[in-house]
């Protein structure tokens, strides 16, 4: 059963742009963290996906918004979020709000486990 990554990423991208247009950043984030494209081999698709999610993360202009939205995330979503944060930090358009995202996610996760999973999990990568 192979996943149709292009369809998933396309649908998710549309959902995210719709949510961002109505300034519903929380819904945009939830959509961005759903069904990460683990195992996708198409580099361009993965890059597009990261670009979209990075846009969502950078759309949070105020640190208070980040704090509000991070409380509603589950443990699995925190893991996926950390992977996307590192992927977004690697891009040239990295923003200082991403550094704040990293610090807040780390605090919410309660330790370095999510960071270690980003480094060590070679099967489930978003990049």
């Amino acid at each position: 059963m192979s996943r149709n990554y292009a369809a998933e990423i396309g649908a998710r991208g549309k959902e995210i742009t719709a949510a961002l247009n109505t300034s519903n950043t929380q819904a945009a984030l939830k959509a961005a963290l759903r069904d990460p494209p683990y195992g996708c081999t198409d580099e361009k698709l993965k890059a597009d996906n990261i670009a979209t999610v990075s846009g969502v993360l950078r759309s949070f202009k105020k640190e208070a918004d980040v704090d509000k939205v991070i409380d509603g995330l589950t443990v699995e979503e925190i893991d996926v979020l950390m992977k996307y944060i590192y992927a977004s930090l690697a891009r040239e358009d990295s923003d200082k709000i991403l550094l704040y995202w990293h610090a807040t996610t780390l605090k919410k996760a309660g330790g370095l486990g999510c960071v270690i999973r980003v480094l060590a999990d070679k099967l489930n990568t978003v990049v």
Partner: protein, 211 residues
């Protein structure tokens, strides 16, 4: 450099030794207190989030254990340098602060490589950074965890192996790298001021002869 026994850190500053016409000689003198004063005087808070991210990533990646080479018997190689076996390597992570500053952290089972790109505002900064960091890299034995050549695309690299984490405190090693990155900027800006100050003196004394 690092005092291996106690894992302490000493910082170096460049001090001008003598000035004769156009000849200038330099020496490195350890002035820990001076460096601390410099670091305290500068408003370093803008870099703090960037360095915090690097610190937590380093703490996570610096979990190293001894691992003998799988290819050559009785050999022990830092696997991050070898890059042959994918199962021994961690995902490399880049943390970009802006177009001029980024850090690449590549981990593996027995070693971790940290490469840093320093912010360079203008040409003089580029020259000073290159010279200063090359000066330090060539004395890599004294710094123990420094790499002799920076990774391609970066200004300076550190290589920490399991022997280093066994003989030195891991939190101190992380502190050293973070301290290095904090001090590098102030060192280079001080050098830039010194160069422009000296240039000004030279020019005024030279042109004073034509008054």
């Amino acid at each position: 450099g690092i005092n291996a026994e106690y894992g302490t850190i000493t910082c170096f500053t460049l001090a001008r030794l003598s000035e004769e016409k156009q000849h200038f000689t330099y020496t490195l003198t350890p002035t820990h207190s001076e460096a601390l004063l410099m670091a305290a005087a500068k408003p370093g808070n803008e870099k703090k989030p960037y360095l915090d991210v690097i610190r937590s990533t380093l703490e996570a990646a610096m979990c190293l254990q001894n691992f003998a080479s799988q290819e050559v018997e009785r050999h022990n190689k830092p696997e991050v340098e070898w890059q042959n076996h994918k199962e021994l390597l961690l995902n490399p992570v880049t943390i970009v602060r802006n177009s001029g500053e980024k850090t690449l952290i590549e981990g593996s089972i027995n070693s971790i490589r940290v490469s840093v790109c320093i912010k360079k505002a203008d040409e003089l900064d580029t020259i000073l950074a290159k010279r200063f960091l090359r000066f330090l890299s060539q004395r890599a034995e004294n710094f123990i965890v420094l790499r002799r050549k920076p990774v391609k695309g970066y200004d300076i690299s550190f290589l920490v192996t399991n022997t280093h984490t066994e003989t030195m405190y891991k939190h101190k090693l992380v502190d050293f790298i973070i301290q290095f990155m904090t001090d590098i900027d102030s060192e280079i800006s001080d050098m830039k001021l010194a160069v422009s100050g000296r240039a000004r003196t030279v020019v005024t004394t030279y042109l004073g002869a034509f008054k």
